[in-house]
């Protein structure tokens, strides 16, 4: 339910003029909620920024999320982050 929650908060922020960008692990839920700007990452739930203890990957994902701020709109904007690192199944 985190994905609905962030989408609804993002909508409230956007309506007050604050531009938002949201990370999502569940593309299909984010598409249903119509989150204004979202970056879909190829990682498991609980791993939005990819990997614990990997600042370089975390920073790359944040930069990719911020890059969506340049999208002209209108929203929703939903883009994919690609990386060679995929968390192995537990």
């Amino acid at each position: 339910m985190c994905h609905q929650t962030v989408g609804l908060i993002a909508g409230e922020l956007e309506s007050r003029g604050i531009a938002t960008t949201t990370v999502t692990m569940l593309r299909e839920i984010t598409a249903k909620v119509r989150t204004p700007r979202a970056l879909a990452v190829p990682y498991a739930l609980g791993y939005p920024l990819g990997k614990p203890g990997d600042p370089e990957l975390q920073t790359r994902i944040i930069r990719a999320a911020f890059a969506l701020l340049e999208a002209p709109g209108p929203g929703p904007v939903l883009a994919d982050f690609t990386s060679t690192w995929i968390r192995s199944a537990p």
């Binding site: 339910m1 985190c2 994905h3 609905q4 929650t5 962030v6 989408g7 609804l8 908060i9 993002a10 909508g11 409230e12 922020l13 956007e14 309506s15 007050r16 003029g17 604050i18 531009a19 938002t20 960008t21 949201t22 990370v23 999502t24 692990m25 569940l26 593309r27 299909e28 839920i29 249903k32 909620v33 119509r34 204004p36 700007r37 879909a40 990452v41 190829p42 990682y43 498991a44 739930l45 609980g46 791993y47 939005p48 920024l49 990997k51 614990p52 203890g53 600042p55 975390q58 920073t59 944040i62 930069r63 999320a65 911020f66 701020l69 709109g73 209108p74 929203g75 929703p76 537990p90």
Partner: protein, 160 residues
């Protein structure tokens, strides 16, 4: 990419039949400033809290829609995590809070000039909200008003 098929049967059935609330129309604000000049706020639904704060109530019917203000200079490893959701593996987040609450990464980006400033407070929600009425009517507008008053230009939102 995670998908609904990766979830437990209980969560899969719930999420497949749940009627998600959609934004319609979709509010869409253009950034007021270039990112290197922008004040950026972090919002998570990871349920993190200062140990001095009352933790979220994971047993509240429909979900706890309240939020906690976290000073942006907080050492992330000192934060508590109230999330008890079994929908996701919490191992990584508990090992490195930056995975879902990347204060360290944003502080580094501010130091490098990639963002203008990190807002003085970040906000933490608890994501397991199945009845979002209170969130939509009360707490999300309240949170947004705080960030608006702070002069925040851009918000990064991270679910868990």
């Amino acid at each position: 990419m995670a998908s609904l098929s990766d979830l437990s049967l209980k969560n899969r059935v719930f999420m497949a039949t749940y009627r998600y609330r959609a934004l319609d129309p979709v509010p869409f604000a253009r950034p007021r400033k270039p990112l290197p000049s922008a004040r950026v706020a972090l919002v998570t639904t990871g349920g993190v809290h200062l140990l001095s704060q009352v933790p979220f109530d994971d047993a509240m019917k429909g979900g706890d829609s309240s939020f906690r203000e976290i000073p942006s200079e907080t050492a992330v490893e000192t934060l508590g995590i109230a999330h008890k959701s079994d929908a996701f593996d919490q191992t990584g987040f508990r090992a490195d809070r930056n995975l879902g609450f990347p204060l360290d990464r944003l502080r580094e980006m501010a130091a490098r000039g990639e963002i203008g400033a990190l807002n003085g407070r970040a906000l933490s929600f608890m994501g397991s909200i199945t009845a979002p009425g209170r969130l939509v009517k009360n707490t999300a507008p309240g949170a947004a008003a705080l960030l608006e008053a702070d002069g925040v230009d851009v918000a990064l939102l991270v679910p868990l």
